[in-house]
């Protein structure tokens, strides 16, 4: 029987856990837990990047692992937790679709994602090509999370989870993007979160809540 080396086994475990976390995000309704799950996703990404860096010996992967640790495990969750405390948003309301239907939809999405990844995996030469499907699944599940939520905060967590999926995809397919691009993307994400922080306070000041149903008046009507 073909045995994978230990580090690759660990990497595959990380990928599996990432997918599991995506599903728990889909089901989670407490915003604080949602942010914790996001931080755990970041932590797994950090471990996976570090393993890959160690395996390939590529210096830029070490840097990007550090970047992940700083931004996704510490920075963003810290910012989000502070926002939650200061805004007092702890629970999301009932999701738009019932949870079991969402889960089933999620399962279908995973199958679709692996189908989509097939041609890419077949061409990839990296050791981690089998996990590209997981990355696409994480992206699409994050998308589903965003669609089914009403609170602005949960949508943002979904958005960041999507970014995690993209990052993981780039890592599995090509051992990461060039450093300058990765730095740029990280900067954009950070700025986006700061802008959002400001934005949330503006919404709250205006509506006394972060429920997005207040933001549904601009429609095409007669």
């Amino acid at each position: 029987m073909l045995r994978l080396p230990l580090d690759l086994q660990l990497l595959n475990t990380c990928a599996a856990l990432l997918l599991l976390l995506s599903f728990s995000m889909l089901a989670q309704r407490r915003v604080v837990n949602l942010v914790n799950l996001l931080a755990m996703q970041g932590g797994l990404l950090f471990v996976a990047t570090l393993l890959l860096a160690w395996r390939t010996g590529e210096f830029h992967l070490f840097l990007s692992a550090l970047l992940t640790l700083a931004l996704k495990v510490v920075g963003l969750p810290f910012l989000l937790h502070r926002l939650i405390r200061r805004l007092g948003v702890y629970w999301d309301t009932e999701p738009l679709i019932n949870p079991s239907a969402t889960m089933l939809l999620g399962l279908l999405i995973v199958i679709f994602a692996f189908g989509l990844a097939q041609p890419i995996s077949a061409l990839a030469s990296t050791a981690t090509r089998s996990t590209i499907g997981v990355a696409i699944a994480v992206i699409l599940l994050a998308f589903l999370t965003m669609i089914t939520r009403r609170k602005a905060m949960s949508q943002v967590v979904g958005f960041l989870s999507m970014e995690n999926g993209l990052f993981f995809g780039a890592m599995s397919a090509t051992y990461g993007m060039p450093m300058v691009v990765e730095l740029g993307v990280a900067l954009d994400v950070l700025v986006a979160m700061l802008v959002l922080g400001v934005f949330f306070f503006q919404i709250r000041e205006q509506f006394d809540s972060l429920d997005l149903h207040h933001l549904e008046s601009l429609k095409e009507h007669e």
């Binding site: 830029h60 989509l116 041609p119 890419i120 061409l123 990839a124 030469s125 992206i139 998308f143 965003m146 602005a152 949508q155 958005f159 999507m162 970014e163 993209l166 995809g169 780039a170 397919a173 090509t174 051992y175 993007m177 060039p178 450093m179 300058v180 691009v181 740029g184 993307v185 900067l187 954009d188 700025v191 986006a192 802008v195 959002l196 400001v198 934005f199 503006q202 919404i203 000041e205 205006q206 509506f207 997005l212 207040h214 933001l215 549904e216 008046s217 601009l218 095409e220 007669e222």
Partner: protein, 485 residues
């Protein structure tokens, strides 16, 4: 050197205005930095005309015939909009709609926005282009919500989330592009995202991966272009933000997004050797034209009306790029230029008209011509120009696009003609009573800046009658660069 000034001036401007943006002379400072940027763009253009393509900073930046004209256009409209915003924002501040802090935010972000657009246009790195596009979105989110009204917050949130998710798709597309390129250009990772290198080896890139990449890139950047059905954010963001921002969003940002789509299309078409990218562009383009024309009828807010008109024109441009070939590309580039100039001129007049009437609703703005003939005529002429009436430049480019469509895609011509007709009736019917008829408008405390309006319309008029040979040469060079069949 010119290059450093081109990108440095808006960045420095953002820093300086971030500090002094609420002072009494801030609008003049804003104009000054925009002027510097424009001069740098002119110098750069001169260099490209005499010396050909410019590659700087280890090939990270590229200026070729395709983007140099967009750089100049962006810097020019950036300057005229800064001129327009000088009295406009003063009036807004005096009406008590803006605190000093928000004025500072506005001025700093205006410069930052110009800077990110220029970065997106000049970078040779597809990854950096993505970063700059996202940065351009982020710098304008807080400008859309500048007035903090419920509607503007909603518009800002929509803009943020839809463009954010859209552009995340584009990141995935860029990643796939890198993945395909790395197999050809080697795993160094330094050159594999540079457009010039990709363009050199586009024939060897894996077609299966690139077609997948193109779908994501088109959906991603297409969201920013405002292609239907991904256009939802556009009318809201245009209507709720301050008018100078509507002018640059519509006149410049949409152009930059189209530019990104076309750069990707060139690569993908070279790899696929099939009509798939062209057909996708034509499909999205046509759908946008038709949907926008229908939605034009239902608009009651003047800025929303012209936002939908922008979607329509972006559809026309996308359709033309989809047809490809020297003539259609030429027409599309010309249309990008004239649309950008005309639409920003319209927003300038609309901004002052709305200030005079105290409302953006079409039914509340009446008889502009009696109180201020210049604003009235500016709006009338701008509307006629954007609707494609001769002798304005929009007529020339639309005529070229339609005649090319008759030869290459005869099925699309009646659809386009019908949509243009519907749009004409809708916009003209709404603008006509705004300009003529009984007036309700009042005087403004500061004289409005109408010079930019007439400069823009003048250029559009000239372009309709006569495209100067060097400009035509330049468009032709870009059109050949973009290629297509």
């Amino acid at each position: 050197m010119e290059f450093l000034l081109l990108l440095g001036s808006p960045l420095l401007g953002a820093a300086v205005l971030g500090r002094f943006g609420s002072s009494r002379r801030a609008p003049e400072l804003n104009v000054l930095f925009s002027l510097l940027t424009f001069l740098a763009a002119c110098a750069l253009t001169a260099r490209v005309i005499t010396g050909g393509n410019v590659l700087v900073a280890r090939e990270q930046f590229l200026v070729d015939p395709f983007n140099v004209f967009l750089v100049t256009l962006t810097a020019f409209v950036g300057l005229t909009t800064a001129l327009f915003s000088r009295p406009y924002m003063r009036i807004e501040a005096e009406h008590g709609r803006l605190s000093p802090g928000r004025l500072r935010l506005y001025h700093a972000m205006y410069q930052l926005f110009t800077g990110t657009m220029l970065l997106a246009l000049t970078t040779n790195n597809m990854g950096l282009m993505w970063v700059a596009m996202e940065a351009a979105t982020l710098s304008t989110v807080l400008l859309v919500t500048l007035y903090r009204t419920p509607a503007s917050l909603e518009a800002g949130w929509k803009y943020f989330i839809l463009c954010g998710v859209g552009i995340a798709q584009a990141l995935f597309g860029t990643m796939l592009l890198y993945f395909a390129a790395e197999r050809v250009l080697g795993a160094e990772g330094v050159t594999a995202l540079l457009w010039t290198h990709l363009n050199a080896v586009k024939g060897q890139l894996e077609p299966a991966v690139l077609s997948l990449a193109f779908v994501f890139l088109l959906v991603g950047y297409g969201t920013k272009v405002g292609l239907a059905p991904l256009h939802n954010w556009l009318p809201d963001a245009h209507a709720e933000g301050p008018t100078p921002i509507s002018a640059v969003l519509s006149g410049l940002l949409l152009n930059v997004a189209i530019y990104a789509v076309v750069r990707c299309k060139v690569l993908v078409e070279g790899s696929l050797r099939s009509a798939l990218p062209s057909q996708m562009l034509m499909g999205f383009g046509l759908l946008s034209v038709v949907l926008a024309a229908l939605f034009l009828w239902r608009q009651r807010d003047i800025k929303r009306l012209f936002a939908y008109s922008s979607i329509e024109h972006m559809g026309i441009i996308t359709f033309a790029f989809g047809m490809g070939g020297p003539v259609a590309n030429f027409a599309a580039l010309l249309h990008m230029t004239v649309h950008s100039l005309t639409k920003s001129a319209i927003f300038f007049t609309v901004g002052h008209a709305a200030q005079k009437a105290g409302s953006q609703l079409i039914e509340n703005i009446r008889g502009l011509i009696t109180l201020s003939p210049t604003i009235g005529w500016g709006l009338m002429m701008g509307s006629l120009a954007i609707l494609g009436l001769p002798p304005f430049g929009v007529f020339a480019s639309e005529f070229l696009i339609l005649t090319t469509a008759m030869q290459q895609q005869p099925w699309a011509t009646p659809v386009l003609l019908l949509a243009l007709g519907v749009a004409f009736a809708a916009v003209f019917g709404k603008v006509q009573p705004m300009v003529f008829g009984e007036t309700t408008a009042k005087r403004l405390p500061h004289p409005p800046a109408l010079l930019p309006v007439f400069v823009h319309l003048g250029i559009v008029l000239v372009l309709g009658l006569y495209v100067p040979p060097y400009l035509a040469e330049w468009y032709r060079g870009a059109a050949i660069l973009i290629g297509g069949h």
